[in-house]
Symmetry: C2
Subunit: 405 residues, 2 copies
């Protein structure tokens, strides 16, 4: 039996460029169902739920929802709160008080875990609640999913940044290191490899957290590339670790700042890039060594959204509403590749996604542990969408010298 | 009298997203003139001239030139060589040996100075040479010009980055500092202000090298914004200086790296952003303080070119060929605003542009020295081009609380 009642939707964790597509997909779809009495939006994720901070999204215009859908970063705002059992009980209390029967939470594996716990509590209390996790993360690290909404646009940003940095480095040769987000999963750093078109293009080296990073081997790799091309473009994941699993950056920071989840804070500082540059300068006789830590534009850059990513983010939101309201089931929406290139969506058990992290499969990483494989490029390229542009070079003949000075 | 002979074109200094539009504009226009026997392109700027490394661009297809025009960064590659009188004599010797009668150099104020010296030497030697400087720089710091090709696209990148960072910061509040390129001129950092749409949007503070930066006043400014909005987004130019004209970053770096021009190396390191973050954390009781040093993507990001900038970059190249080949004159192409929004191009004496730096006029900077004025926004907005998108917010009514816990 389909229960009449309210829908509540919230957004959690780090924002993405397309997270509002999922919000709007779920809201517009939910508003079509007669048994939905209202559609609420929680302000600032689970924090807004326990504090009863809700928008009435039933009274938002369709036009403005469409405008919001095109806007990066959580329109309902977000939170770093990571609910424990007690916090989830408070969530559940509020859901009951407001007669909420459908709960959609857009987020990563932490958010999936919150949905799982709240759903358990509803079952224990015999309260009819459909709870569905809607995936999003630029890290692309959710289990079961072929890929996640948010990754395609972040990957497109990284690809465009490395196309530019490779061209810049080709015009004014030297060593360039771009440090890319990704604590445990290297998918985003790997996307830099999509920038390569001509044989001598960068990135020439790509280092991922899935493989042990040896600073000695790094130096050998860089020297080899530099000797061959007179320059070297390198993508490094912020999460690279040594053989003991210690982040390379950790040994360098006097005081390691931690976030609310107890994770080490790796973003928002140039320390890793600066360290690697200094190490190269100290050990190889190369003058022009530069690094960028690519930072927040990776998540929410305005002008560079993948249309494939946008459409899929929209659909996972729609599918959440459809599964809950047509099929009366709980779970996590997952994306599955069905062709080159097409996808379909399924509902997966929450505990298969919640709290777990997917990393790059072995088939996507080369044996030298310093680049991606063709298999990764084939996997990732469609996610950049339909309007990618790549570099072109002059092909004119050279002129014979006259003076030979 | 119009001399028959060859055209030589080169690109110097830091690349931009549209510098190849100017190259292609000049090449295609020059190829139309009967007195032009060949069109050469020097590989790696003036370095390619003294070493006689030339492409024959007369034999490049129009189609490929159009593809190259859409590609960021110098297709002819670049150089950091800054020619002195002796170096310019070598250039002149090569020009004579190859019967080059028209010399176009795309670059900033250093490149304009090279054109000026080579032109002088041709005059002294009674050698018929038309030498024209074609403007480019993301810094927007060339005299006489209303603005420079390359600035609009870099400004568009900065605007899009700050639209995203502001949304991100709004979703997960705290302090965000974005460090923007610009050693002496603050035009690029100022472009961050174009990201602001709603009244409480960031950037809330913009610090420019044209004004003395007081670290104490900075703290007061940040605290005021944070107390009001619970968050603060800040744009800082990499070139900010104290009251003695000493760059803020200098006091912090044990060893200051210098580039080939003897300039202090400010880019490619997160030191300034990290310092400012640490200073805020140490002095204000705010937990979430992050910085990005926006780095190389500012110059050559692939996916975010301004169409206005692209068209103007094309036209300055075309105009250079027209002035030299129709009018038989020397100088620097300059851009002049003739309406809102339209421009025209003039030929300006080389010594009015060469080696000089334009900075932000007083009318563009607010009296508190921590933001731009409406006048700047009106000046800069048309340069972003026709396809800018801005953020939209939900406007739905709030729901009354039930539990009030």
């Amino acid at each position: 039996m389909i229960f009449p009642g309210k829908v509540l939707i919230a957004q959690g964790g780090g924002p993405t460029a397309v997270i509002n597509q999922s919000l709007v997909g779920a809201v517009l779809e939910a508003r079509k169902f007669a048994q939905v009495t209202k559609v609420y939006g929680a302000i600032s994720g689970v924090n807004g739920i326990v504090n009863e901070n809700f928008y009435d999204l039933t009274r938002e215009t369709t036009h403005n929802l469409e405008q919001v859908a095109m806007t990066p970063s959580s329109a309902l705002l977000s939170t770093r709160d990571k609910p424990d059992e007690k916090y989830c009980k408070e969530i559940f209390t509020v859901l009951k008080a407001h007669d909420i029967r459908y709960f959609f939470y857009i987020g990563g594996n932490d958010s999936a875990d919150t949905v799982r716990i709240v759903n358990q509590q509803a079952k224990i209390s015999n309260y009819e609640l459909r709870a569905i996790h809607i995936p999003k993360t630029i890290d692309n690290d959710l289990m079961i999913n072929d890929h996640t909404p948010g990754y395609g646009s972040a990957a497109k940003y990284i690809t465009n940044a490395f196309i530019g940095s490779n061209l810049d480095n080709r015009a004014l040769p030297g060593i360039y290191i771009g440090v890319v987000m990704g604590r445990h999963a290297g998918f985003l750093a790997a996307a830099s490899a999509l920038a390569k078109k001509y044989e001598d293009d960068g990135p020439h080296l790509v280092y991922l957290p899935e493989r042990v990073f040896s600073i000695e081997q790094f130096l050998v790799d860089v020297k080899n590339v530099y000797d061959k091309h007179g320059r070297c473009v390198i993508a490094v994941s912020e999460g690279i670790q040594d053989e003991k699993g210690v982040p390379i950056i950790t040994s360098l920071m006097e005081k390691v700042e931690k976030d609310a989840h107890g994770n080490i804070q790796l973003s928002g500082t140039g320390a890793l890039g600066d360290l690697l540059c200094k190490y190269i300068r100290d050990n190889l006789n190369i003058k022009r060594v530069r690094s960028d830590t690519l930072g927040y534009p990776q998540r929410c850059f305005m002008g560079c959204v993948s249309d494939v990513d946008r459409n899929e983010a929209r659909e996972v939101g729609e599918k959440a509403a459809q599964f809950a309201l047509w099929d009366n089931v709980d779970g996590s929406i997952t994306i599955h590749r069905t062709g080159h290139y097409s996808v379909d969506y399924r509902l997966t058990q929450l505990d298969a996604v919640a709290g777990k992290t997917k990393v790059m499969p072995d088939a996507f990483i080369n044996s030298a542990c310093n680049n991606v494989t063709e298999a990764f490029l084939n996997y990732a390229r469609p996610l950049l969408g339909s309007d990618m542009h790549y570099a072109h070079r002059l092909r004119a003949p050279k002129i014979p010298k006259i003076l030979y000075k």
